[in-house]
Symmetry: C2
Subunit: 345 residues, 2 copies
DNA sequence: CTGAAAGCGCTTACAG
DNA sequence: CTGAAAGCGCTTACAG
């Protein structure tokens, strides 16, 4: 444990002033250093293995090179992908990322934002909209506002707020695209496994899918609500649909079940299997999210991949640009797999 | 955008000196402030909405409150779980985490470590051992050493290095445990889908499994090498095993295929299905990792869950403790699922 | 218990 | 082009 070498050491070693050493090493737009001195300084720095102190630089410059990222849970695959995008964009911009996880505790959100603000991060990327806990959400909004007022800038992913920009994923349009594609594959009879009847991504997906299917003149056999878009609920919902008999009634071609999340689709798949209904031979199945596992189940699951990495990267750019009020909307990407084979014409 | 309020503002507002304001707000072990003044300072801080500048504090104190985390790829589920553990442990200790991803580029490792060192992170947690790129690995080692010499402390996950502590996962022992459990379930004939013949986790798992099975007096029908422990290689390896006929020869009970990774097991499952061999009715199957998807496939996959979150948390503690030369070894956790039902008898 | 002052390691107007 | 000096916002010996 030795005393780290400072810029003063370098200046002394090179026989120049502190100012010249600083300018030679870390540049300056306005000032330039004579080639001979510059060379001497660089040589001295090399000899001494000088590395600038980032904290001191931040202090002197009045700004850090960090961007703050707030996620509800890093270990979730969705947020992991977003984090990857943020990380890539950040270090392309020469910035580091300070990660803060609320660990799905709404009350932590405001304090986490405050902490990032105190650390003077240059910009913030916030993932995940309102938690539903009004008190916590208001506190979070206040914290963001305080940060913005203090000169910070923020971008939100999957939410919106005045004074910020954001990126969002086009759930509805992507679901509509999925519906069109499935129609083109020959499917004409659909069942939807829907989320609870309230606003949110699942609702958007349902709307995009059902509206499109209807416009195309296909038939919606049933819309079965789930209490939550989980595997268990998907299983239960599918079981109810099977029991209702709507799947077996028709003669107008193979029905297709659209679940608003892959998790629900996994549950539905299990229910179908337990009922002895072969997928996709008798009933086809599609999900949404491209969760890990969608490529592993049998049959592999047709779904919509969310452009999460791109969303993270885009959010960094928006936050850095600092202009408020812009929202970038990204489309999902269709992933056609075995669970929805083309129907013979 | 207003000028942020500083401690001087608070001191002035409270009518005390800078020093007193500092001591009243951010405490001091040695100094104590009169209750009346302390109250006045706190009131002033509240009124002005003062929040200390973290950068300035770090500068003055000579150390930051950040811990640096280096991972090969944040979006990978394994590293996501580790990151979650690190994050939780960090903010339990009142520290923030600065995330750096090498994005699987070996050459980036050293530069990422240097960057973290320049930012004066208090401790570093490094995930992932040697990349195989000797030059890059040496550079990374040098960077870590430089950081340590400068007073930093680091903990490694899944690797070891003098001057650091680390946490490791007991692949071999966990695989042995898995073998014992499967034996207890009644399995006596095993096939292993092994990784390439070189040191590493897959090799440890193979060794633990095969040695235990052998000691228990069970039969190893075949050890099939894969070029890499991937889904594709697992598929190919399984196909070869099927073609070899070892699975069908016996009459001494149902064979069980152990793949050294879940990914390989997924591939094997597909190959078995294509060959018309029902799993688990005719052949049982087990993997390792508890990858996302292991709970989604049919049948759900028996595997070993890695204590990744715990590993991340443990690493933070080790790094903070600062004593070098300790390695904490964590066992995996058996996850018995449908692919390995107990055998009657 | 309280305060004036130095200092953390840089950057950057301000003068030469 | 180069340098002496102030300043970034705190903390903390050092004196009262």
């Amino acid at each position: 444990m030795v005393r780290p070498v400072t810029l003063s050491d370098v200046a002394q070693e090179a026989g120049v002033s502190l100012a010249t050493a600083s300018r030679a090493l870390n540049g300056s737009a306005t000032r330039t250093v004579g080639p001979e001195l510059a060379r001497r300084v660089r040589a001295a720095a090399e000899r001494l293995r000088y590395a600038p102190d980032g904290v001191a630089q931040a202090m002197a410059r009045g700004r850090t090179n960090a961007i703050g990222l707030v996620v509800p849970d890093v270990s979730d695959a969705l947020f992991g992908a977003i984090t990857a995008g943020v990380s890539a964009a950040a270090d392309e911009a020469g910035l580091s990322v300070t990660l803060a996880s609320t660990r799905d505790v709404p009350r932590r959100e405001a304090s986490v934002i405050d902490a990032l603000a105190r650390q003077r991060v240059r910009a913030m990327v916030l993932v995940g909209g309102p938690t539903g806990n009004v008190e916590a959400d208001v506190a979070a909004m206040r914290a963001i506002e305080a940060y913005l007022v203090g000169g910070g800038s923020a971008a939100l992913i999957g939410a919106a707020m005045p004074g910020t920009s954001g990126v969002d994923i086009a759930d509805k349009r992507s679901a509509a695209q999925l519906a069109m594609e499935l129609h083109a594959l020959g499917y004409r009879r659909f069942v939807a496994l829907a989320g609870p009847d309230r606003p949110g991504r699942p609702a958007e997906r349902l709307a995009g899918f059902v509206e499109t299917v209807t416009v195309l003149g296909a038939e919606v056999l049933a819309v079965q609500r789930m209490t939550a878009p989980t595997r268990e609920a998907g299983h239960a919902a599918m079981a109810e649909v099977i029991a209702s008999g709507v799947l077996t009634g028709g003669d107008a071609g193979r029905p297709l079940v659209f679940a608003v999340t892959d998790q629900a689709a996994f549950g539905a798949l299990a229910a179908l299997r337990q009922a002895g209904i072969p997928v996709p031979d008798q009933v086809a199945l599609a999900g949404f999210d491209d969760s890990p596992g969608a490529a592993e189940v049998t049959p592999t699951l047709t779904t919509v991949r969310l452009p999460l990495v791109a969303a993270g990267a885009e959010a960094v750019k928006l936050a850095l640009a600092g202009e408020a009020g812009r929202t970038v909307v990204l489309d999902g990407e269709l992933v056609l797999r075995e669970s929805t084979p083309p129907l013979a014409g």
